[in-house]
Structures are given as C-alpha cells and as structure tokens.
Amino acid sequence: MVNWIWLFFIAASFVAAIVNGRMEALTEAAFEGAKNGVTVSFGLISVMVFWLGLMRIGEDAGLLRKLAVLLQPAVRLLFPDVPKGHPALGYIMSNMSANILGLGNAATPMGIKAMQELQKLNPDKETASAAMCTLLALNTSSVTLVPTTLIAIRMTYGSAHPAEIVGTTLIATAIATAAAIAADRWYRLRSGPPAWRSPGSGGPGAVRPLQAPPGSGRSDPGGKGEAVV
C-alpha cells in the first residue's frame, strides 16, 4: 500500500514537472527533501531521548499500573464479553495506559498480548471477535496526552509555543475516540449474533491475509511520537 503511494508521488511529480516545465526544480527538490528528513529527525532526537527517559522512570515506578487500575471500570464497560479476571483485561488496561502516556513501544507489545488472549476466547480463529474489534478501535484512535513528536518538530522550526497544540489535540482525539467507540458499539449490536454462527460472514471489511510490514511488532515510525526501536 505504502509502496503505491510513494510511487504515485514520484510518478505524478514527474508528469506534473513535464507539464509545468519544472524538471530542474524536481531534482533539486528531491535532495532538499532528503536534507529536511534528516533535519527533522535530528530535531526529534533531543525530545525523544528526554521524554522517553522520563516516561521509563514513571513506568518503573509503577505509574502505568496505577493508571491501569483507574481504567478498570471503563474496560469492564467496553469489553462486556470478556470474563471477569481474564488475563486479556489486564493487557488491555496496560495497552490503554501506555497509549495515553505516549509509550508506543510499550503499547504495541501489550496490545498484541491482549489480542493473543482474546484469540483464546475467540471461537473462529480467522475472524475477529467483537472484543478484538473494540480493542482495535481504541488503538486506532488512541488518546495521547502529550504528542511528543509533534512538539519536537514544532520546536525544530522555531515555534513560539510548541506545546499550544496539546489542548486542541486532546479535544480532537477525545472526539475521535468517542466516535470510534460509538461506531464499534453500533456495528457490534448490528452484527447481532457473533460471526461464528453465520459462516463466511466476513463482511465487506474482510481483508486479505495480513502480513505485518518489516520491522513491525513495534509502533509505527512517525505515528504519534511512539517509540520504534
């Protein structure tokens, strides 16, 4: 998918450059882009190193576990079909806590662990259960308190108030998360009986066998300031 997007950018640029007679600018722009890539990354280093160091202290001090306890009632509401005391719930709480703190490198393994536990409860091993869809909905719209990466980029380009977008981001992400939970609920209720009672109801959302991209099992580089190591 990303391959095609990348190729599209380059091919479309080439065609547009011919149309607009900007061939020379094209080559220059390519090298300029490469230079910017490195500049941005270097701007990220200081913030990432400091912030993730700080967050690791918090993690070791058990702040993640504390947050997980706070989230317990919410998790019970969101995952009614997971039996009480099932290990999946613990991983889900850790995953959500790590997402909130912007610890992507902790969130992804926890999320995968939660998925594996949910898979044990899932009667149809090839079709996502309702609980799995809910967990995914939470992760695709994850609430982050501090978008570290963005603050770093804004600092790099000399923003007067690099952190002024924290508030707007928080509001927008809360709305997106609410929408995700609402949509997930709606589909969950609409799909009525679980998928395994009506064979082959993969639905329009069915996808081909998934192959994780190289270097996965980690968070998405450039996601939300999470770590990829």
């Binding site: 998918m1 990303v2 997007i5 990348w6 479309a12 640029s13 080439f14 607009n20 094209l26 300029e32 882009g33 910017n36 941005v40 990354s41 990220l44 280093i45 190193v49 993730l52 160091g53 700080l54 690791r56 202290i57 918090g58 995968i112 998925m115 949910l118 898979q119 079709t127 996502a128 799995m132 995914l136 909905a137 695709t140 719209s141 982050t144 804004r154 000399g158 108030h161 690099p162 002024e164 508030g167 707007t168 981001t169 509001i171 927008a172 992400t173 997106a176 929408a179 799909s191 639905g203 959302g205 069915a206 099992g217 998405d220 580089p221 450039g222 996601g223 939300k224 770590a227 190591v229």
Partner: protein
Amino acid sequence: MIVFIPLYAAFRKVPVYESFLEGAKDGFGTAINIIPHLVGMLVAISMFRASGAMDMIVSLIEPLMHRLGVPGEVLPLGLLRPLTGAGSLAFTAELIKTYGPDSMIGRIASTIQGSTDTTLYVLTVYFGAVGIRKSRYALKVGLFSDLVGFIAAIIVCLFVFGS
C-alpha cells in the same frame, strides 16, 4: 511532571538515573529509526510540491475548502494519515516548515497528526500478530474515527486559534 516523576520514583526506590537511561536509549533508537522513513517520504513529497502536482490537486479542492474557511493545504494530510505514519509525519513537517509552526495551517496539521492514528498499520500489526484474516467492521470503524478526528481537529483549531 519533570520533577514529580523522578521524585515519586525515587520514593518508590526506583534507580531513577538508570531507568532514565534505559528509556532514553529507546528514544534515541526511535529517532534514528525514523530517519530513513522520513527521508524517503520527504523526497517524494518535496518532489510532489516542486513539480506543481500538489498545487494542481489543492487548486481542485481549494474552492470548496475555502468556502468553509479551511485551508486546502491540509486535505492531503487527511488522506495520508490513515495510510502511512511516516508519510503523514513528513507531510506535517513540510507544512510546518512552509507555513510556519504558529500559522493556522501549521496548527491544524499538528493537531490532525496528533489526534488520529495510522489505522491501516495498527490493524495489520495487531490482527497479523494473531493470524486474524477477516477483520469484519474493524477497518470501517478505524477509518470513520480518523475522519471524525480530522474534521474535529480542523474545527477545534479554527475555534481556538481563529480570530
């Protein structure tokens, strides 16, 4: 925050400096790992801009967006965001560089980038890890929440930073 966390951790008998170094190493690795992604994407986006292709696309949707008082430049970001984290981050960086971090476009781009996630990537990693092949409605829900986040980011920014 910067003072509270280490103090609390020290109270809980955590070797604070060692913990900090552990996390900091991770952070460094992350930033270094992002470089190839960012370079690759920024080269493509930079070419896309210089060739005039971006202007062509933006000028197509500009009138519509303009009527709503939304800068059309952020629209491609909305399309990129669910597909590629590094690509959209690169695009955001490019917008911030071009228009300035404290411009309306810069603020909106930052907010969009921070309030949505790379749905396709998350789905691939999570479901791929346990061998789920039929994702049912998960993709629809994820994309829907991205769309809501995108619109919410624009509205919230115009409301908060608008004059």
